[in-house]
């Protein structure tokens, strides 16, 4: 559900821009924060607040990789798979996370706690391999560190 408080934040965001439609990406981000992914209600709320048709909102939402089109886990783990991380063992890191979490990349654990994603270059090539947990960085992720992180994530559930 998109709460009234979230709608208020959406309206305040629109007011900051010279042209309402410019607020579409931040407004969709608020919708996703509310519901975990972009739902029909999220699209409707964005459409109302920004003042454009719902299908136009959907066309934009579906273009950007950070807007999820379906439900994801409570924690989204993104592992960079681009060239600099590849040279420093990201494929091994993904394998370790897949084994440890019991899912393949692109999947969510049955309890809904974790989604594991392979993503494109995260601008952290000097501290490769790298991953993000809910948009916060973990850099220089050695196998030991990855094991430690998984223990920590699971204990927080």
């Amino acid at each position: 559900m998109i709460s009234e408080a979230a709608r208020e934040r959406m309206r305040a965001t629109v007011a900051k821009y010279p042209v309402a439609r410019s607020a579409l990406l931040p407004v969709l981000r608020i919708a996703q924060e509310e519901e975990g992914y972009i739902t029909p209600e999220g699209l409707r709320a964005a459409s109302e607040v920004v003042g454009i048709k719902e299908d136009e909102v959907e066309m934009v939402a579906s273009f950007y990789a950070m807007f999820f089109q379906k439900p994801v886990g409570k924690n989204v783990i993104k592992v960079c798979t681009s060239i600099s991380c590849y040279l420093r063992g990201c494929d091994r890191l993904i394998k370790q996370l897949e084994d440890g979490l019991g899912v393949k990349r692109g999947e969510t654990t049955p309890d809904g706690a974790f989604t594991l994603l392979g993503v494109e270059c995260l601008a952290s090539c000097g501290t490769a391999p790298v991953l993000q947990v809910n948009d916060e960085f973990e850099e220089n992720v050695t196998p030991q560190r990855a094991a430690e992180l998984m223990r920590q994530w699971k204990s927080e559930q």
Binding site: L28, K78, S84, L87, C121, A123
Partner: protein, 432 residues
């Protein structure tokens, strides 16, 4: 260990430099104060005379870019900072935003003053949450201190600055796609002309500069164009933040005078190749620039010398491949990036990048045919220069350059029916 030359990254290691108080103690916003005491045209001339060129990749002279803004447009002029750093091998803008957000904000304010813009946007890549928080906080502090907003520093000039976050699309680093995204649309590149300097954001004259470029402006204004132009080479002025990554002992960002050799960067700053191995190839400017063989390590890292060697200085993202790196495997990985990030607008890029990945996968798996190598080149020829924006050209670049340099490795994958490097990769994976 050799010393960096800190111009853009000056004071980066000072505790609290990301706060206004500490930034001011170290001369922060003095360049803005100085600029406001000059005529806008004089500020622009200073930047022009410094020789500063765009650090995002294309290397267009910054002062020239500002002076191309359409005069007398009925629509407002805008300054947009491109902080959509996504090029594989680059990670300097993220560092600048996280650690020195006020220098960027100061640079943006000076550029807005010089170009007559009353509104500036800083477009930050969606994935960089901490960078966005830092820059937003710096902007809030700048407003509270009277450096931004109405009547800045009592000058009678109004300049508003705000952060706009992307949402995950490499293509938005292309300046016209960035503008579309900032207007709340899909990040499709626009057909040029008109160029953004004439009709950019909301149809108004718009200047779009990279984050490092704008973060360099305060030092130029504070110290003067002549001071800045004395750094670097005859034609390539100043410093660059080299993003060193790949198989070196000490990867990281190193700010050095333009004209430093790649060997110095890799050996003295990067501590050489891991395990004392040899460099097989290096990519000088980010994954979209042609790779160069080890015998080019001694060239001067400047726009002209890198071009003469057959590549591009680009965004100075230097990626090092060692003697055991499989070129086909590395190129496959780079090509997957372009396949995934192609926005889909132009058919050659959208379809071609899929075919390229399929062919490279087949070769890497040992199922390729000898004619696949020329087929790769043929597809690249049909993508390059045949799309709206440079993403298609970029996708072709690793393939064309690697086949030129390492055709024998491609052939070995075919004749041996397997990747000659695979065993080593499995044996050493994760040891770095």
């Amino acid at each position: 260990m050799a010393e960096q030359m800190r111009v853009v990254t000056k004071d980066i290691d000072v505790p609290g430099i990301d706060t206004l108080a500490v930034y001011e103690q170290h001369g922060g916003y003095q360049a803005l104060r100085k600029a406001l005491g000059m005529e806008p045209a004089a500020v622009l001339e200073e930047v022009k005379a410094s020789g500063l060129r765009g650090r995002g990749g294309a290397g267009f002279p910054t002062g020239m870019k500002w002076s191309l803004l359409a005069k007398g447009s009925p629509k407002p002029t805008y300054v947009v900072c491109n902080s959509d750093e996504s090029e594989p091998g680059t990670f300097k803008d993220r560092m600048l935003m996280e650690k020195l957000p006020h220098r960027l904000v100061e640079g943006v304010l000076i550029s807005a003053y010089a170009t007559g813009a009353k509104q500036a946007f800083i477009y930050i890549r969606g994935e960089l949450a901490l960078a966005a928080r830092q820059v937003m906080r710096a902007i809030d502090e700048a407003y509270a201190a009277g450096y931004a907003g109405k009547n800045i520093m009592g000058s009678g000039h109004d300049i508003d600055v705000m952060v706009h976050r992307g949402a995950g699309a490499y293509i938005c680093g292309e300046e016209t796609a960035l503008l579309e995204s900032l207007e709340g649309k899909r990040g499709y590149p626009r057909l040029k002309p008109p160029f953004p300097a004439v009709a950019g954001l909301y149809g108004g004259p718009t200047v779009i500069n990279n984050c490092e470029t704008l973060s360099t402006v305060p030092a130029i204004i504070a110290n003067g164009a002549a001071w800045y132009a004395a750094i670097g080479t005859e034609k390539s002025k100043g410093t660059r933040i080299f993003c060193l990554s790949g198989l070196v002992n000490r990867p990281g960002n190193y700010e050095l005078p333009i004209g430093t050799t790649f060997r110095t960067l890799i050996e003295e700053f990067g501590g050489g190749v891991i395990g004392g191995k040899q460099v097989k190839a290096f990519i000088p400017g980010g994954s979209s620039t042609p790779m160069l063989p080890a015998d080019k390590l001694d060239i001067s890292a400047d726009y002209e010398s890198v071009a003469a060697a057959g590549s591009m200085f680009g965004a100075a993202g230097v990626i090092v491949l060692d003697e055991d790196t499989c070129i086909v495997g590395a190129v496959l990985r780079m090509t997957e990036f372009y396949r995934d990030e192609s926005c889909g607008k132009c058919t050659p890029c959208r379809e071609g990048t899929f075919w390229l990945v399929q062919l490279l996968e087949r070769l890497e798996a040992g199922h390729g045919r000898a004619e696949d190598i020329d087929l790769l080149n043929d597809i690249c020829d049909n993508i390059s220069g045949k799309s709206f924006c440079p993403l298609g050209d970029a996708a072709a670049t690793p393939i064309v350059s690697s086949i030129k340099l390492f055709r024998d490795e491609y052939i070995a994958h075919v004749t041996q029916g397997r990747c000659p490097f695979r065993a080593r990769e499995l044996a050493t994976a994760g040891n770095h």
